[in-house]
Amino acid sequence: MKGQRQDQAPDWPALYAQLAEQSRDPRLKAFYQAGVVAMDTPIEAVPLLALDVETTGLDARQHAIISLGLVPLSLQRIRCGEARYWVVKPTSELSGESVPFHRITHSDIRHAPRLTHILDELLAAMQGHVMVVHYRNIERGFIDQAVRQQLGEGLHFPVIDTMQLEARLHRTRQPGWLAKLLGRQPTSIRLADSRLRYNLPLYQAHHALTDALATAELLQAQVATHYALDTPVGKLWS
């Protein structure tokens, strides 16, 4: 799916049907069989799940998930009552460099469950939802890798990437030579900076649940500002 353009987003319902056939693990089979909304479903009717993972590093093959936060939402409401948050024991070493970011220390994870113990709950929460993330490569890559390690097969799921939506607005073309010459900075599409453009409050970054909530709010703001409520989800997901 790398490098796919928005108009070439996969046909997720078809892909789910296909994956349901191919998967050997019963849990993954069930996950795909539950299906996903059709591409032309209006965004206001799509069950969404904002998702954020904090990791020990940036490379899904080398580093591991250390915490996950998720909160279900619709365009009308973000439902904190159904939010979930886990700190998990990473499969790779907790590097000292990442600690200042997520503030999760060795003592915090000493008694944390391994990811395998929460996998069923995670899949249940994700099932039937379209995920909402800020910078899809991280969540997608790490969850795929984690599921691959546990179940021997990866996990594919549709995401709406709020960073990608910002990029569409602010990175429509390469900066011209004049902008480069003048050293103009491109508009930042980081989560906190993007939120500011919609007058959303400043949050303490790098807590998986806070970031999931922050991403959920950002999506509501983006749609309220730039999209019609009946925009087909196929135009937003990837």
Partner: protein
Amino acid sequence: MQIELIEIRDHLNRFPPFDALPEDRLDAIASQVQVAYFKAGSDILLYGADIHELHYVRSGAVEIYRRNGELYNRLSEGDIFGQAGLLRSNKVRFPARAIEDSLIYFIPAAVFAQLCEAFDSFADFVEAEGQSRLKSAVDSQGKARDLMKIKVRQLIARAPVSVTLDTPVREAARVMTEQSVSSLVIVDPNARWPNPEQVSVLDQQTQVMVGILTDRDMRTRVVAEGLGADTPVSQVMSPNPITVQADDSVFEAMLCMLRNNIHHLPVVQRRRPVGMLNLSDIIRYESQSSLHLVNTLFNQTQVSGLQALLPDLRATFVRMVRDEASAHMIGSATAGLGRAFTQRLLELAEAELGPPPVPYSFMALGSMARDEQLLVTDQDNALVLDDRFDPAVHDDYFLKLARFVSKGLAACGYAYCKGGIMASNPQWRQPLRVWQGYFREWIDRPNPTTLLNSCIFFDLDSVYGESELVEQLKDLVATRASANPAFLAAMARNALNRTPPLGFFRTFVMETDGQQKNIINLKGRGTAPLTDLIRVHALACGSKAQNSFERLDAIAATKLMPPEAISQLRYALEFLSLVRIRHQASAVEAEREPNNYIEPEQVSASERYNLKEAFQVLSNAQKFLRFRYPPHAVRNP
């Protein structure tokens, strides 16, 4: 395990009525909140629609309308709406619309009902809405008074950024840059709360704040000193910082910064650091504040620069009057500015003379110590020196220091004290033990001269240096005076020397001896005798408070006087001070020299009525003082 929605809980915790709820309850509420974003201009509640949630403004601004479309209220961060509908018919009574991009929290009706049931304060707050808060929104109150009402927590935008004690300064600098903050809270992960059973579970989880580090510290203590990037922050932080409580008013925070000349003030909820208040936060909130002037003041390197700020000082005073600040606020802020002038002069003096040979405290007396300073004031100050002081060796330094400051203050509009109560006078430039000797003597064997001293010196406060020296003197006064009825009786008699004018007519004042005067000294016949009698009662109570309003609080706590009498005194003092203040402010505006004299002819009818009442309160209070300390009780030992 309960999920912690930190951002939601911490935000609720900053605003009433949630701020009064226990932490675990806040966590429970946060975990049931729903959130939605509303673009500016979009409807949040439509009239008559079903409503099953309390609405809370997380960010942005919301307008509430009457059924007829008329604007009813305008809400912002931390305000709630929709309760009128919830409490009655579960139908929207007042429609709401976002007027800025807004984030709204929805709290389910069931949770709302439980909170009303379990917490009277919560129920009172939500029920009182409609009326009182609306009134305050509609009545345009003086801007300055808002500073008294608005709580510090409403100005803090985010949780404090903290690092541990052993963090290298390089890392600290990186965190400051990354988080775009100008200061860090330093925590000690190994420290424990002193009384673990008395702190909430949440506090126990929170690390103990042991210091703060500002970008200025980075410059002056790290870079300028050539320290390595690996130096731990513990070596360069300011330990045990002064803090404010989240529930303190912005005004109190402002005074705290004024008094201590600090630009970063950690905000704590009970003991847990919840934010960092910067000078710029307050200036942004109230750009005309006296803090702005203080900031300028501390940048002056010459006495002439300070002198040039005199018009600014007066302008600040006038502005507070126009903003309808209370007398208490204006007196405190003006005293704070006076302190700042004094502190800066002492810094400049030390820069010229070198560091002091022994520790000292520069002590303010009278109105500055009471935080009741106005524009017309002379300087009353003294030096309390460490007991190691040796006149032959050290006095030359302190004489120069005292003269420098005295002269500087005179240049800045604080006239020389006619009674010579200035640190430049050798009698008032003495080590602690000599002061203790003076004070004991004045209390144990009062005579007319020492009684006059007691009236001035027993309003005392350290302005600069080792404040402990002055604290010891305050302790001595509080314990010794209250135990000495003869002294109190003598002070009481002294406080009756000046009486208010009761025959206050339209164009003149009729004195008791039948003399008519067309001018009246508001200080000498009003505020001064009032503060005198409050001082006597406060000394009798063993109170260490210096400010007259705070002294009244202390007196009220002992039940020495009935509560109505206390509130009358408070009203009288506030009113008499305000008339004085307004009189001075209008003189400044008319470019006349301010003074304390008013002409009854110039006083409006309503003001005259109130003045008469205030003078009557003073007169009654003097009668009570006479009754409590009958003249025959005064014996000369």
